[in-house]
Subunit: 294 residues, 2 copies
């Protein structure tokens, strides 16, 4: 593994991110293959870059590896990282390997962008747009945690959790049109709340729009779960949420921006109530306080 | 903590590195302050950049934080990172925070350089040059592990372990003159061995030259340790080792490059013997196999 890489950037400004996935917090060996662990950790970092409208370019990873992880497992993990990088046109160019008692995968990614979209530009009157799904990965995780043989209804949800995809093309499409954007890693309500905080506005979701996802609805029914709760609180889908004035190809409307603070939900009857701040528990067995920010 | 930073690079090519320090492998809370943990982890990453002759520019860090680390500890750690960054003219511009059972600090650093020095250019006939000290940080760690009140003879060694400094100025000085370079994080013999491997040559150290460090000699005597063993195997000083044809300001001669493979030591009697491959145990209580590469 290389310690450092000499490189030349592409055109535009640099966008740079780091993300880390920790065994027990973000993945479990019994629920994901080694390749899945590599893939997911890469896409989590790439999604940060996509959410700025930037093009991922190159990555380094830092692995902390316990003694019980053998070389074949490490190679499978690295293959998952490489496959994820290739899927979005980037490359893993080096990294670092350290021994430690708990497996973790830190990924740092450089991208380039003419004019990155930040979280802070949302304005009252903007529409809230979504690309990708929300809640499906959380449904897949619940199905995996429940064990047994999940029904075919849940296979899309399980795939969403194991093999999320950073929405790079959608990020490029929204960049010239968006006032603010974020990716959904910890849950739609919480992550859109970051746009609200940074922009000094309130984000209002439209429950009817969130319920238009038939695949999520079917997964929720199969799990006996509430689709709205999954949509608002489920993390790790790496959907993109954008505030902006005009429609964007590949995005659908899920709400609007108003004066105020925080996040609210307009239910199907048309009444609006504020949503309490809440985070995504990557594993339902974890204490909410410990997993509320990842 | 920011997830991503929009930035513009300086002139020259980009040099990029990632390093990670893990509690129990690279530091212990009872031996280092929170500020020391932040400082050391930053300097470990910066040293990789210094070893290429590059100028550190900006950093992101990813922290994995157990529940028993409070906000005051985190702030002290971050202050140590910032102080280290300022000491070498760089800045920490963002990062990521994740929950997990074991504290770790990953640091990714970007630097710029006209023409980075790699490990692969050493040639038979080159001299081996050293900037900074080797073995002193390992002596300091041994003194701390022994507990009690270390003698004043060992205070420089303890400071070397707690507050190492990446040799950025020395790296810039060697860049136009060096054929190959590396920083000493895991021990002089092992790290110089990486130059040997990458360059297809043998590195021969001169024991008499290594013994010229009076501070190391005094620390070794105070510990009842062998100064040569400390110099060859002690890690975490972040000295720079360079192979090149001419003297470099700030560097002293410690050996030479010959045809062959591996690493050898010419003892004070003038006879030369090969050194077995060996790594640095960050803590003497760890199994050598687990700590041989960090």
């Amino acid at each position: 593994v290389l310690d450092a890489a000499a490189a030349s950037p592409g055109r535009g400004r640099l966008v740079w991110t780091i993300d880390e996935q920790v065994e027990g917090t973000h993945f479990r060996r019994d629920l994901a293959s080694w390749s899945d662990v590599g893939w997911r950790s890469f896409m989590a970092a790439a999604s940060d870059v996509a959410a700025m409208g930037a093009v991922p370019w190159a990555a380094l990873s830092a692995l902390v590896v316990p003694d019980d992880v053998d070389d074949a497992a490490l190679e499978a993990l690295a293959a998952g990282q490489r496959a994820a990088a290739e899927a979005i046109g980037a490359a893993v160019v080096g990294g670092n390997l350290a021994r430690g008692p708990v497996l973790s995968v830190a990924t740092t990614l450089l991208g380039t962008c003419e004019d990155p979209v930040l979280r802070s530009g949302a304005r009252p009157g903007d529409t809230v747009w979504l690309a990708g799904r929300v809640g499906l990965a959380a449904a897949g995780l619940r199905a995996l945690e429940a064990g047994g043989s999940p029904s075919s209804t849940l296979s899309a949800a399980i795939e969403a959790w194991r093999r999320p995809r950073a929405l790079v093309d959608e990020g490029r499409a929204m960049r010239p049109l968006a006032h603010a954007a974020i990716d959904v890693s910890d849950g739609l309500a919480g992550d859109a709340g970051h746009i609200g905080e940074a922009s000094g506005v309130q984000i209002v979701f439209d429950a009817a729009a969130l319920l238009e996802d038939d695949v999520l609805g079917a997964a929720a029914r199969a799990l006996g779960a509430d689709a709205i709760d999954l949509a608002l609180d489920g993390g790790e889908d790496y959907a993109l949420v954008v505030a902006g004035p005009v429609a964007i190809a590949g995005f659908r409307r899920i709400g609007h921006v108003t004066e105020g603070r925080g996040v609210a939900l307009r239910d199907v009857s048309g009444s609006t109530r504020p949503l309490a701040s809440r985070g995504y528990d990557h594993f339902t067995s974890r204490k909410p306080t410990a997993a509320s920010r990842s």
